[in-house]
Each structure stands twice: as structure tokens, then as C-alpha cells.
């Protein structure tokens, strides 16, 4: 129980830290008053607006008032959308979750077979090919990969849509379950290219991780013993070796989500994906401070909550974590 309380308190402190850093970073990037006045505004009008919006107050007062509103769920109105910033963020969040979850599934379920195949064929052309691709995957920027995929699969072969999005989570959240599942095939179809572009780095990293982990496990005594007992190779690999080898990958999963969310910003721009990454990008360009703050805080809460859940699950599985 103490462990849970401690972790909850830690999470709260991190969230407050995120709000402070976001607040300060945006304040330091210039005077936000200019966002609220017309291009033809006089200096007097600008000064009046600054005072009316409270931007002339000391920073700590502005931050405390921001924090007080935030506790009540009020991030202020978006400057460009003319509506509550949190609404714009919550509308964009499902699209990002679709992309991130899909990419996470790819990062795990594509990486494991590749890593196992490479390990079982160590030193062979199969191993070499997989590891070359994996190496490239850790070097290629996701936006470049995205554009190349658009050129090849979208323009040359014309088998995948170049851009766009069909929602799945949003109708699900709204209770339109029939609509959500009727759209699922299209939703997945639109997810293939952006999902792969986001996941490619993680697939590559995980494949290498599984390979080295498998090689280590395969050389251990219990595998030799299992083989000596005459157990089939399939059983040795899947039941004995893989079960041990993929533990490092499972450990990565908690961290993976935050990493993937970080990667979606550029990919969302390339594929016109109406998610939170694109929202943040546009909001920064337009200096729509309330939207940037709301988006960063919401993402931080999602990330921290997931880490908390992973930690709690670990604590349940392995009591040593609590120590």
C-alpha cells in the first residue's frame, strides 16, 4: 500500500513539474499578448490587452492561477479554435491512441518473429538480412520513411491510401459500437503506413533485443537439457527459449508507449493524421498557448498513468520491486 501511495505521489509531482516546465517554456518564447490583438492594434491597445489578460502580472501569480484553473479542468480557450482547449485535445487524442497502439502491436508482434528467426539462423543470410534491415530501421528518420512509403505504396503501387484517417476509438467512446466495428477494416487500412512508419524504429530495436536475448537463452543449460531429452525443436524454441527470451521486450513495453507517442508528431504531419501530435505542431506554430499546455499535460498524464500501471503490475508479479 505504501508503495502505491508513494508512486501516486511521485506521479503527481511529475505532472506538476510538467505543467511548470510547459508554462515557463511558452512564456519565455515571447509576449503572448500579441496573439490576442489585431495586426493593426496600437501600442496602447496592446498594453490594455496585456493588462486585461493578466500577462503583466508576475510569472508566479500567472502560474498559480493557471494551476488553479487546471485543477478544475479549465485550460482556457484555444486562441485559434475559439473553444475550450481541452476539447480540441480530447478530440485529437483518440486518433493518436489508435496510431500508437497499432504501432506498439507492430513493434512487439513483428519484432519477436524476426528476432527469433535471426537467432535461430545465426550467421546465415536470413540473420544478416534481418539485422541489416534492423540496423537501417534504427537509422532512418520516420518522416523520411513515411514519405518513401507514400511514394512507393501510395503513388507507384496505389495499394495504400496516401493520407487520411478513419476513426475507430472515437465512435467507440461515443457508444457507436456498431459504427466503430463496421469501420474497423478501413481504420486498419489507413493505419498501415503511418503505423509502420512510427513503429519501424521500435521493431528494429526489439528485433535486435529478441535476437541477442534468444541467443543467450539458447546457449543455456536448460535448453541443452531439453534438447537432450528429445523434445521437439519447436517446443524447445517456443516453450522454453522464447518464454525466457522475450522478458526484456516485455520490460520495454511500458517505456515503448511514451517513445512512440513522441514519434507520432512528425508522422501525423506526413500522413495528415488528425491526432494530438499534429495539433501540438499547429498550436506551436500559431502560438496557441492554451492548446499546447492542455496537450502536453494530457499526454504527460497518459504517459505517467501507463508507467504507474506497469509499475504496479510489476510490483504484483515481483515483490522485490517494492523494496
Amino acid at each position: 500500500m505504501t508503495f502505491i501511495v508513494r508512486r501516486l505521489l511521485q506521479s503527481l509531482i511529475v505532472i506538476i513539474g510538467v505543467t511548470l516546465i510547459t508554462f515557463l517554456a511558452l512564456q519565455m518564447s515571447g509576449d503572448p499578448t500579441y496573439l490576442y490583438v489585431s495586426e493593426r492594434a496600437t501600442l496602447e491597445e496592446i498594453a490594455r490587452t496585456r493588462q486585461a489578460l493578466g500577462f503583466d502580472r508576475p510569472l508566479h501569480e500567472q502560474y498559480l492561477s493557471f494551476l488553479g484553473n487546471l485543477i478544475q479542468g479549465d485550460f482556457g480557450n484555444s486562441l485559434s479554435y475559439k473553444r475550450p482547449a481541452i476539447e480540441a485535445v480530447m478530440e485529437a487524442l483518440p486518433a493518436t491512441l489508435e496510431l500508437t497502439i497499432f504501432a506498439m502491436v507492430l513493434a512487439i508482434f513483428v519484432a519477436i518473429p524476426l528476432g527469433v528467426a535471426a537467432a535461430l539462423n545465426r550467421g546465415s543470410p536470413v540473420d544478416g538480412s534481418i539485422m541489416t534491415v534492423a540496423m537501417a530501421g534504427q537509422s532512418i528518420p520516420s518522416f523520411w520513411l513515411g514519405i518513401m512509403m507514400i511514394m512507393f505504396f501510395g503513388l507507384q503501387l496505389r495499394i495504400l491510401p496516401i493520407s487520411g484517417h478513419v476513426p475507430f476509438i472515437m465512435p467507440l467512446v461515443q457508444g457507436n459500437i456498431t459504427q466503430a466495428f463496421s469501420q474497423l477494416p478501413q481504420a486498419l487500412y489507413y493505419l498501415i503506413m503511418p503505423g509502420f512508419a512510427v513503429a519501424f524504429y521500435s521493431i528494429s530495436r526489439n528485433a535486435r533485443l529478441v535476437r541477442s536475448s534468444m541467443l543467450e537463452v539458447l546457449s543455456q543449460d536448460f535448453v541443452r537439457t531439453a534438447r537432450a531429452k528429445g523434445i521437439s525443436e519447436y517446443a524447445v524454441v517456443v516453450r522454453h527459449a522464447l518464454r525466457n527470451a522475450w522478458l526484456p521486450v516485455v520490460t520495454m513495453v511500458g517505456l515503448e508507449f511514451g517513445f512512440l507517442i513522441g514519434g507520432v508528431v512528425v508522422v501525423e504531419m506526413v500522413f495528415s493524421w488528425p491526432g494530438i501530435g499534429r495539433l501540438i505542431f499547429n498550436a506551436i506554430n500559431q502560438r496557441d498557448i492554451p492548446v499546447v499546455q492542455a496537450a502536453v499535460v494530457v499526454l504527460a498524464i497518459v504517459f505517467i498513468s501507463l508507467n504507474l500501471i506497469v509499475d504496479l503490475v510489476y510490483a504484483k508479479i515481483d515483490p522485490r520491486v517494492k523494496l
Partner: protein, 516 residues
Amino acid sequence: MFKKLLLSGVALAALSAPVMAAPADNTIVVGLSADASTFDPAQISSRDNANIAKHLFATLFQVTYEGVVQPYLVEDTKVSDDGLTYDFKLREGLTCHDGEALTAEDVAYSFNRAADPANAFTGNTPGFVYTTLGFDSAEAIDDLNVQIKVKARTTLALGMLAQVYIHCKDSYEQMTAEEAAANPIGSGSYRIARWDRGSEIVMEKVQDPGNFQNIIWRIIPEASTRTAELIAGNVDIITNVSPDQVGAINDSGTSNVEAVSGTRRMQIGFNLSEKVAGMPGAKEIQDPKVRFALQYAVDVPGICQQLLGTSCERMTSLVNPPNGNPDLKPIPYDPEMAEKLLDEAGYPRGENGVRFSIRMQGPRGRYLADANVIQAIGQMLTDVGVETEVELLEWASVYSPLLRTKEMGPLFFLGQGGVTWNPLYDMSLFSTPDAATNYQSWTDPRWFADWDMARSAETPEAARDVINRMLKLFYEEGPWLQLYFQPDFYGVSNRIEWQPRRDEEIDLFFATLAQS
């Protein structure tokens, strides 16, 4: 295993078929870089947003491709002798998208709603149009007649009225500001069928004008993705094609790039304000001879060909063609003449070859190829002995505030929008010595004496001589280096026929399917 993969591939291809289909014959698809932020008529301020809105909301007047202001909802116009009262008679049988008849009361409501300070609207209408127009009040006389009063005579009135979106009282009175932003009840040819924020806006036609039954505005922020969608035939028109993608589109066989000379006036401004008096170069540019000499140092045609990939239309003043002074010709690139004039102005090269130093600031990523253009000009000025220190700044948080407080420069790169329908609109940047848009702080008394005469004339034609005199003064001693009208590149599918406009407006009413 291979068989399974093959089957999956076939299934995928089958699934893809409907998605990859070209737009239907009754539908036109436009790829934009940014979504609409609001559809409240009094809050709309960005160009992309306004381009979508003009298909939803009718206006009293409209500006044609050729720059002629012509009636839209209005049938008859009467102006009082003092030029302060406008009486408009509406066409009969107008309706709103909510099914109600569109009457003079709705027109008056549309105008007064935007002007009401209690609503605190910040869109183009209350923030700019009303100031320029000198809007005073609007009143319905009867069902078809509406009266609009302005505070001073202006020949800009009808053109400014062409920017005010008409919407209907009954529906808007019942909506909160938030509802009004998302649920436009318009008066124009199209209404919104669906708005998937961040993805697309689907419109359907309700009345003329308009040749397509449906318009789809797809939001595609990334330029190369927009290009790919155009080449693939999934969209019909794309905006903001970058010069490096022009070749790919023209070679595609499915689409072409249409370049127009926009109305945005690109300039190197001279900041003549006392606020920058301490900066290097600020004193030297106070001399009109120096300003004029520097014009010879800049190879504008070369910049256009090499950096923008097109031959731009040169500027000779701040007024867009065809309203400029026809006697003025672009100053040629002649660095020797620049050096000669700088010598004559009393700034010979020193022992180190430098006449004087100056700082030039500009934005990065705001205008077409801006960073490259600014750096090229910096080098050209340095070549004639004016050692130019170039500083590229982020637009929104750094450069724009500097412009607002007039602390940039002393040389600065800027593009200011203009129109084709009235020279005085373009000249209104310098309406007073301390006007917010007089970023150059140019205070020549001859200009402002003439400005009062030109503004109070009953028509621009009546003020023609004065306007020409003012433009000649601007040409010879003015506060900016004349560069070019910014070219705009549109990608257009071979499937349709459509004419881009110079004023950055997208007008789909008269687009048609191409004759095959």
C-alpha cells in the same frame, strides 16, 4: 505461408479499391494546408478559413477575378451625397440554410452582431474591415431594404462590404458562441454536411452559383503529401505548392501547376523609426538617395528565377496592377549604378571596401523561399559595399512582435497583402504617420497631404492624378525596396478546369469538369 501472404495482399487490394477511386463527377476535392478553426462569421480571420467560408456565406458584394466589385445579394445601391449613408435593396427570394427567408433584418443583424463590443469578436470583420470602412451602424428599413452608415466618405466601402458574411438572425440568436463556431447557418451556395476536424470538411450545394454538387476540403498539412495526393488523382486542387515540387507535378501527366502573380507585396522595408536610431545603418537609410541607390543593387529577376522558380511580376509601388502608375518602370539590376549613386550620396567605400554596415532581419518559413531570398539580398547589398548582417528570426514569437513594436531592422523583409479592386486599399498601409501598418515609420509630409485628398475623392478615378503623384514619390524616395508580387503556385488536376485568383482567394463556384 506464401499462399496466405498472397491472399492477404489480394484482400488488401480489394479493400483499397474504393479508397483509391478518383472523386465522383459531381464532387471537387481541394487539399489545404490548414483546417478551419471556426465558422463563426465574425471570428474568421485566416485566409484558409475565409476561403472555405465564402462558399457558405453570401455577401452583399463580391470581387471578381478581374478585380471588379459587383453585387451579390444586392439588387440596387444608393449612396447619399455626403457619402455617409448606403441604402441597399436586396434581391427577392433569398433564403438562409435554416430555411428562413433572408431579409434586411438578417443583414443588419449580421453587421451589428460583429460590431457589438459585448461579443468581443476578433475576426477580420470587426478587427479590420470595420476600421477601414469606418462602420457606424446598420438598420433594416423593411424586408428588402437595409441602410448602412459609415463615419467618413470612402471609395473602399463596397469592396470592404464584400468581406462581411451574411448570416441569419433567428438561428444565431439561439446559439452560444461555441455553437456558432461549429454550426454555421449560412446564406451562400453550399452548406456543411460534415466536419471531421483535422481531416476534412464536406459541403453540399443548396443553391446557385456552383457547378459541383459537393465540395470536399481535405486537410493535408505536409506539402509533399499534398503533391502525392494530387498526382494520384485523389484531390483536384492543392495550394502552396513549393517550387521544388513544380517539376514533379508537371511531369505527372495527371496535373499541372498554375502560377499566378499574387497581390502580396514583397519588400525590404527601411525602418526609419527613432526606436532603431542606434543600430548600424539606421542613420544612412534616412537619406532618400541611399534608399533609391540600393534598389539598383538587388537583382530581382535573378532572385525570382533562381530561388522562386518563376519570373515574378515586378513591383513599382505598393499598388497592385492594374491600379498602379503606368509611367513607373521597374528599376533594373545595375550594381555599378548603385555604387555611383552611393558615392554621390556621400557614402564612398572605405579602405576595407565597406561604405557602411547595416542589419537586415526577416522571417524564416513565413513567405515563399523567404530565408533564401533574404540571404541573397544581403549578399547583393554587401557586394556594393553595404555590409549587411542578415538575421533570420522565428515569425510568431520573435519577428512579429518586433514588427508590431517597430523595433526590427533597420532593413527588414516583409510581405503585405493587397487587392486588385482599389488602389487606395493598397495605399492605406500609410494612412497616417503612426498607422499600425506603417512599419517603416515613413512620415513624408507630401504623401500624407496627398493621401487626404485622394481618400476624400468620390472615386479612385477622380483621384488618379494625385495617386500617380504619390506613387512616383513612393518609387523615388519611398520606405521600401520594391521586390515582387509574391507568386502563388496551385496544383490543378487535369480532371477539372479552374482559374486561380491573384488575391489568394479560392473560388470554386465556376470550376467545371474538364472537357474530355
